[in-house]
């Protein structure tokens, strides 16, 4: 006979405010099989848990029901408490009377009645719970980082520092990511390349880290601790082992018309190219669309000039399959598409640029060699206007509803640098609010205003009118002085919103990681587990989870690495015990279940089955508990009901349905 204990939590006033918890406890006492019921302010507190442990010992409980917040919050807490009291942790059921009852109903009597019903359903289920022991599965001591920007590099370095092997898969020919395109970084104004390149070299030379650049992840299967990933190493047409990185081929290459992605298309690059000088690995890549040899078959200059004869036109894509224990997503971000913002004439005038393009222009290795000049006529701009929140904080479908967080800081930085290098240039910034929180950030912005005399106008630009003279008439409003501001500017810089990498959704589907409508990967819990995805074994690092600047990205990278290290340091992982199992007496061996199993966890064998003394040889299904993730598709596909899922068995759910409908 089950001996059930029911504990009703007040959760301060969160539950007790709307639900008569005493009545729920009293009704619980009348339920079949319940021998102990109590309500208490904070069940998840230490005293609350000791209350459970004592009750289990004193009343020799075989199962407990905690009516409290969502099981997604404290199920593990109460399971551990039960385990400490010697009760099997899976004999615990949670009735969610906070998020799904007290918080969403106003009428006290109605909410109490629903809480009683939810309690009854949990009691009905716990009476049918069977003790389960978590299975164990091995852990491959290797991590995969998808994305080679600062987030990916930092994560990889921190993981390899703990002695684990890490692979970085980077889509572009070199690691470095978005940060490598920046000139200076806030708040220290040190040169982006100077702080990034050492990390890139460190990553390249670290014997625990393997770089797969110009490669993409094609397929991911398996589960935490046992991922199997297919990686496509796209053909570079250059032999990495032979190439010395002398760069002769890039100079001599006759095809120079391809727009350079690294320089945001502001200038062109040769068909055989490395994205930027300090590229790691410093091995060029042949862009087959623009290479005359590949398009027409005639040229071949690069193979002629290459002393190390590292050019190999026959090189093909290579597919490799590697096993990993954990995967970190560090896919970074990109600037949104501004075509729809015709009011700023971004697509009409070459002098209306995004901040990232300005970074390239200011960068010594950039298209203008570091000289700040207008792209239309190359003259030095005397009047520059920055426009903030272009596409951010915007409710219509052109832009993004969130604030991109980093624009205020980098605009202040760019304004300061321009004013410092070209004191005679006048800089105006139109803003809605300046958001520069945190250590030294607001001081940084105040320096831009007070020391470098950047004009900050609280108001917005209505229109940018490019004139035939090359001037850009910026028409805006200053809502502090209620002044109509018209500035004939030489250059307009748009602080455009940022959005996750285009491939984020494709990768999330591959990893079955959940993703929100803005394509940011959803974290397991906004406050308590920000760097893990709800899918076990998948971790998030950098802007793929939400807008953040470099300091926060590095911090997050470290945290993701810590989680990965925590996972890889275990030899055996507790696997989900709620797996499917087939009753061989009833199984027909019709292999319907095998077709619906997403994990291929079901196989068939012919064995002698003893059915009440009648021994017969039959083909029966066998579930590999290590592979099975407990989704339950097979239990419904099975016509004879032989397949059942422990933890959510047919009878348990039917008992819950009965209790709810009574």
């Amino acid at each position: 006979m089950p001996r059930i204990g029911v504990f009703v939590c007040h959760c301060g006033t969160n539950i007790a405010g709307t639900i008569d918890v005493a009545k729920v406890a009293e009704m619980a006492a009348a339920e079949q099989g319940v021998v102990f019921s109590k309500d208490y302010q904070y069940m998840c507190s230490q005293t609350g848990q000791t209350l459970i442990i004592d009750a289990i010992k004193e009343y020799k409980l075989t199962g407990i029901v905690v009516c409290s917040c969502s099981p997604r919050m404290h199920e593990t807490t109460f399971r551990n408490a039960a385990q400490r009291a010697g009760l099997n942790p899976y004999m615990v059921e949670i009735a969610n009377i906070r998020e799904q009852c007290s918080w969403i109903h106003k009428d006290r009597e109605e909410a109490t009645e629903k809480a009683v019903i939810l309690m009854r359903a949990a009691v009905a289920k716990v009476c049918l719970n069977t003790p389960l022991t978590a299975g164990e599965s091995g852990v491959t001591k290797r991590a995969l980082v998808i994305g080679g920007g600062i987030a990916g590099i930092q994560t990889a370095l921190d993981i390899s520092a703990a002695g684990f092997k890490v692979d970085i898969v980077e889509k572009t020919p070199s690691i470095g990511g978005r940060m490598s395109q920046l000139d200076k970084t806030f708040p220290t104004l040190d040169c982006s390349a100077c702080i990034l390149t050492p990390k890139m070299v460190e990553a390249a030379s670290d014997e625990n880290i393997t770089l797969y650049t110009y490669s993409e992840v094609e397929k991911v299967s398996g589960f935490v601790g046992n991922f199997k990933v297919d990686i496509r190493k796209k053909a570079r047409s250059v032999r990495a082992d032979k190439c010395t990185g002398c760069g002769v081929c890039q100079e001599k290459c006759p095809s120079k018309k391809a727009p350079s992605e690294f320089n945001r298309g502001l200038n062109n690059r040769s068909a055989i190219y490395t994205p930027f000088a300090q590229a790691i690995p410093n091995v060029p890549v042949i862009d087959r669309e623009n290479c005359i040899k590949f398009q027409t078959g005639k040229c071949g200059v690069c193979s002629k000039v290459c002393q190390a004869n590292a050019i190999d036109y026959e090189q093909e894509d290579e597919m490799i399959t590697v096993e990993y224990g954990a995967i970190v997503v560090a896919t970074g971000f990109d600037v949104i598409n501004l075509d729809k913002y015709d009011e700023y004439a971004y697509s009409k005038s070459k002098d209306v640029i995004t901040s990232l393009e300005l970074e390239r222009i200011m960068n010594a290795a950039g298209p203008t060699g570091g000289h700040l000049e207008r792209l239309s006529d190359g003259k030095a701009p005397k009047e520059i206007v920055f426009i903030q929140c272009v596409g951010s904080r915007c409710a219509d479908e052109r832009g993004k509803s969130y604030c991109s967080k980093i624009c205020c800081m980098y605009t202040a930085k760019q304004a300061m640098l321009i004013r410092d290098k070209y004191p005679d240039t006048n800089v105006t910034v139109f803003y809605i609010d300046i958001r520069t929180p945190g250590k030294n950030f607001d001081e940084f912005y105040r320096r831009a205003v007070e020391d470098y005399n950047v004009h900050y106008i609280k108001g917005q630009v209505g229109k940018v009118l490019p004139e035939s003279s090359g001037k850009l008439i910026v028409v805006g409003s200053d809502i502090i002085d209620a002044r109509h501001v018209i500035i004939p500017a030489d250059m307009v810089v748009l602080a455009a919103a940022i959005e996750p990498n285009k491939d984020a959704r494709k990768i999330a589907t591959m990893l079955t990681a959940s993703i929100d409508n803005n394509n940011f990967l959803t974290e397991a819990h906004a406050k308590l587990r920000p760097v893990e995805s709800p899918t076990a074994g998948i971790f998030l690092s950098g802007v793929c989870q939400g807008p953040r600047d470099i300091p926060e990205t590095v911090a997050m990278a470290g945290s993701a690495a810590a989680k990965v290290i925590g996972l890889l340091s275990k030899d055996r992982l507790k696997s989900n015990p709620c797996t499917a199992h087939s009753d061989e007496l009833m199984c027909n061996g019709c292999s319907t279940c095998e077709k619906v199993c997403p994990y291929g966890a079901i196989s068939y064998e012919t064995k002698i089955v003893n059915d009440h003394g009648v021994k017969k040889e039959r083909r029966v299904a066998v579930v590999n508990a290590a592979l099975c993730q407990g989704c339950g598709a097979c239990t419904v596909a099975c016509p004879s009901g032989a397949m059942d899922l422990s933890g959510f068995s047919n009878r348990q759910i039917i008992a819950e349905v009965d209790a709810v409908c009574r």
Partner: protein, 389 residues
């Protein structure tokens, strides 16, 4: 003897239904079953055989025995109410009535089944003469005379008249009750009341008619009218023609030699069973349509607030019929198949002084999905008997 013209049958049924519940053959989408007489029901007295026998009226397919409920801590058990009001079952044929007699020996012998007994006492059985026996009928082989079905009263439709004559006290009381209602409704002018008391003997031999020569006939205007002689003659001639037809039906002349009390000992182990059972699907249709099958299973059902213990028909053909703690003694379908026919033709007769547990109604012949039945079993052993001897 009550005579009523066939187009007045509606009123007769209304009369009975006004006094008590009436169960009679009704049609539902082409299938005739015994059903409660209520508005909107299509009565089919002409149908020879219903799908399920009228056994349901006395031994329902599913019946609550008792239910127990618990409020907070105290437990209360409420037994199901026994049948306490009279009800009439109209139109049971000879085979069904013989089936009731078979069931009586089971349920009314010690220990008596209270539910069945209450139903039997309150139930008034009005038998009906078969007008068009089917080729699947073989009641004659078991000594059942379809023209003299028995029961508390016997009805027979001849030409445009329906004759009902009482067979025992209960039948007489029933007829009087009807005639009162009929008179009070000043209904049938040519409704003849005739006192005949017949007793039907156990072994189905020709009934002895104790005829009281006083004939009363109840006419519309309250005066009694005598039942004229040619009605009686027509009735007798009609029954004679039915008996002649039964001679011509193929299965009626089935011989039961070698069964019942004189079954050879080795029949249980005969290899013939192995051949006979093969097509059987173990479905249970034969047991549920049979008027004499009496096995039932007892189960509990949780109604949410209370638990009900009910009994429901069980079929010896089901794979878990004799499932017990240690397992199931009858593991193969052959054993179950053999058990069914041995019980009907051997075990029951040996325990009930020769009365077979089959009444030859032929329902299992009509309804078996794979056309297996008791006649084929008997004939198979008969053929095998001829070959060996």
């Amino acid at each position: 003897m009550l005579k009523i013209s066939t187009d007045r049958i509606n009123e007769l049924m209304d009369a009975i239904a006004s006094k008590m519940d009436l169960i009679l053959p009704v049609e539902n989408n082409g299938q005739v079953n015994f059903g409660i007489y209520e508005s909107g029901v299509r009565v089919r007295l002409d149908a020879l055989k219903t799908v399920k026998s009228a056994k349901d009226a006395f031994f329902p397919q599913s019946e609550t025995l008792y239910s127990c409920s618990k409020d907070l801590k105290n437990l209360s058990v409420t037994p199901a109410k026994l049948m306490d009001r009279p009800f009439a079952v109209f139109g049971m044929k000879g085979c069904d009535i013989r089936g009731l007699e078979v069931l009586d020996r089971v349920f009314l012998s010690d220990p008596v089944d209270g539910f069945y007994k209450a139903r039997r006492e309150n139930g008034i059985v009005i038998g009906m003469v078969c007008n068009t026996p089917w080729e699947s009928c073989f009641c004659k082989a078991f000594g059942v005379d379809c023209t003299e079905p028995g029961g508390d009263a016997t009805a027979c439709v001849v030409g445009d008249g329906l004759f009902i004559e009482a067979n025992n006290e209960k039948g007489k009381a029933f007829l009087e009750m009807i005639s009162e209602v009929l008179i009070s409704e000043t209904l049938a002018d040519n409704c003849i009341m005739r006192d005949t008391v017949e007793t039907v003997s156990k072994d189905g031999t020709e009934k002895t008619a104790l005829e009281d020569d006083k004939e009363q006939s109840v006419s519309k205007d309250g005066t009694e009218k005598t039942a004229d002689a040619d009605d009686m003659e027509k009735l007798r001639a009609h029954k004679e023609s039915i008996r002649r037809i039964t001679e011509k039906l193929p299965l009626m002349s089935l011989s039961l030699k070698g069964w019942g009390t004189e079954t050879p000992k080795d029949r249980f182990d005969s290899p013939l069973w192995e051949k006979l059972y093969k097509p059987c699907l173990a479905c249970g249709t034969c047991t549920f349509v049979c008027p004499t099958c009496q096995c039932y299973d007892i189960k509990d059902h949780d109604d949410g607030d209370s638990v009900r213990r009910y009994r429901c028909w069980d079929s010896c053909m089901y794979s878990d019929f004799t499932l017990m703690a240690h397992g199931n003694p009858r593991t193969s379908q052959m054993q179950r198949f053999r058990q069914r026919f041995m019980h009907k033709l051997v075990y029951y007769p040996q325990n009930n002084d020769g009365i077979f547990s089959c009444t030859g109604c032929g329902r299992c012949i009509d309804k078996c999905p794979q056309s297996l039945n008791i006649v084929k079993v008997i004939k198979a052993f008969e053929k095998e008997g001829k070959e060996n001897v």
